[in-house]
């Protein structure tokens, strides 16, 4: 009887047992806290995802371009292919999305386009061609250091895009966006003996559909500019010569793949 009472007393005052009891109590509190946090996480998951979605503000666009280049009299320079690259960043104009899914932004970024042109189309001419003179050709058989005909004809434009865009997030990570950009660009139409350089103010508008970080889009652009032939003015013997200027029209459709980034 005495021994039973002693054991009971020891068990009541044993510090180890008391600690174990404390641990159990703490564990119970932690577990209840974790479960409470999990519940709150599940509740807050949607806003976090939404926040991540709107954080993807940078976009890289790589596209295939069908560019119709025309001179002043409407003649089209035949195109082989065209490519375009742009790096545009959205600056949201308001913090909270309208109706929790729509935001307007100011866009800014650079824009580069290149088009390879094919100017040497053949036809069925059968008259005299090539060098038909009787004099011997100069050293090297008249071959130039650079074969000008092999250089081909190229069109470049580099600009800085400024504009507005609207982005809609209907469900999950789906993004539907539309934009209109004004792109003041420097353009060069290079072709063997001529290098026409000028200012081409592009007006570009497009739309894109993306999910997460990848998407597809289409863009249309139009510009008109006056170009100056630099090579002609360099070749001229007089400093007072006036370089010829010519009008150039550019209208293109671009299909592109877009990659979106953000912190």
């Amino acid at each position: 009887m005495f021994s039973i009472l002693f054991i009971c007393a020891m068990s009541l005052f044993n510090p180890i047992v008391a600690h174990e009891n404390d641990d159990v109590a703490v564990a119970t509190v932690v577990e209840s806290t974790i479960s409470a946090n999990n519940e709150s996480n599940q509740v807050n998951e949607a806003p976090v995802l939404n926040e991540r979605f709107w954080r993807k503000r940078k976009s890289l666009r790589f596209g295939y371009e069908m560019n119709v280049l025309q001179n002043a009299n409407g003649s089209v320079y035949p195109e082989v292919f065209g490519v375009g690259f742009s790096n545009v960043r959205n600056f949201w104009l308001h913090k909270k999305p309208i109706a929790n899914c729509l935001k307007f932004a100011f866009d800014m970024g650079f824009d580069i386009n290149y088009t390879l042109l094919d100017l040497a189309d053949d036809d069925s001419y059968t008259g005299p061609s090539g060098y038909v003179g009787t004099e011997p050709l100069p050293d090297g058989d008249g071959e130039a250091l650079v074969d000008l005909t092999s250089i081909g004809s190229h069109y470049f434009s580099v600009g800085w895009a400024l504009g507005v865009s609207v982005t809609v997030n209907p469900v999950a990570k789906l993004r539907v966006a539309g934009y209109a950009h004004f792109v003041p660009s420097a353009a060069m139409h290079f072709s063997g003996l001529s290098a026409n350089i000028g200012f081409m103010p592009y007006l570009k508008y497009g739309c894109e559909l993306s999910y997460g970080a990848v998407g597809l889009g289409a863009e249309w652009g139009t510009a008109k500019g006056k170009c100056t032939d630099l090579i002609s003015s360099f070749m001229s013997e007089s400093e007072n010569s006036v370089a010829p200027k010519s009008l150039l029209y550019s209208n293109y459709t671009k299909l592109y793949i877009v990659f979106r980034f953000g912190r």
Binding site: N73, L93, G127, G133, L193
Partner: protein, 179 residues
């Protein structure tokens, strides 16, 4: 929030105005009827040069005139004969008897033609704006008129020492021997 909305509205208006101001015409239209397209052989040149010296006191010296008019034929010793091809948007030298032009045979060079003025890298003047005025005499004959006029400056003093006016009328005949 209110400021943000006002800013958005103002910005949208500014962008719309800006883009509408710079909106290009879209596409060019060819209302000139490009009669240049085809192959043309250079057949005649008429050229006229006028020149007079300018003295230090600003007075002009006695003018000097020189006029040349001659027909051009292949291998006539002048090395000016050529056949030029015009496509819708480019021109190129198809045949020549000048060995120095071998490197640019068949090199397509863009040109613009508004029905009167022809602008191309092949037309490269020393003083005046580089273009040729084109006159069609009939379907198979045309004339390029070139005017190049200006002062020649002394390299050391930087003052004009002479004045030169060069004009040329080159006649081309359409080559029809193609299939």
């Amino acid at each position: 929030m209110k400021t943000c909305k006002i800013f958005t509205l103002v910005f949208a208006v500014v962008i719309c105005t800006m883009t509408s101001c710079f909106r290009p015409d879209g596409t060019a239209t060819d209302d000139t009827g490009n009669k240049l397209i085809g192959y043309w052989e250079l057949v005649h040149i008429l050229e006229e040069t006028q020149r007079y010296d300018i003295y230090e006191n600003g007075e002009a010296g006695t003018p000097y005139f020189n006029t040349n008019s001659y027909d051009i034929a292949c291998n006539d010793g002048r090395k000016e004969w050529c056949i030029v091809r015009f496509t819708e948007s480019t021109m190129s030298i198809v045949a020549t008897d000048d060995p120095e032009l071998v490197a640019i045979i068949d090199l397509p060079v863009p040109y613009t033609f508004d029905g009167k003025k022809l602008v191309s890298a092949f037309i490269n003047l020393d003083f005046s704006e580089s273009f040729a005025e084109v006159k069609f005499r009939n379907e198979n004959s045309m004339e390029f008129y070139i005017l190049d006029e200006g002062d020649i400056y002394n390299e050391e003093s930087g003052k004009p020492e002479a004045h030169e006016k060069y004009q040329s009328w080159t006649t081309y005949r359409r080559v029809t021997n193609k299939n």
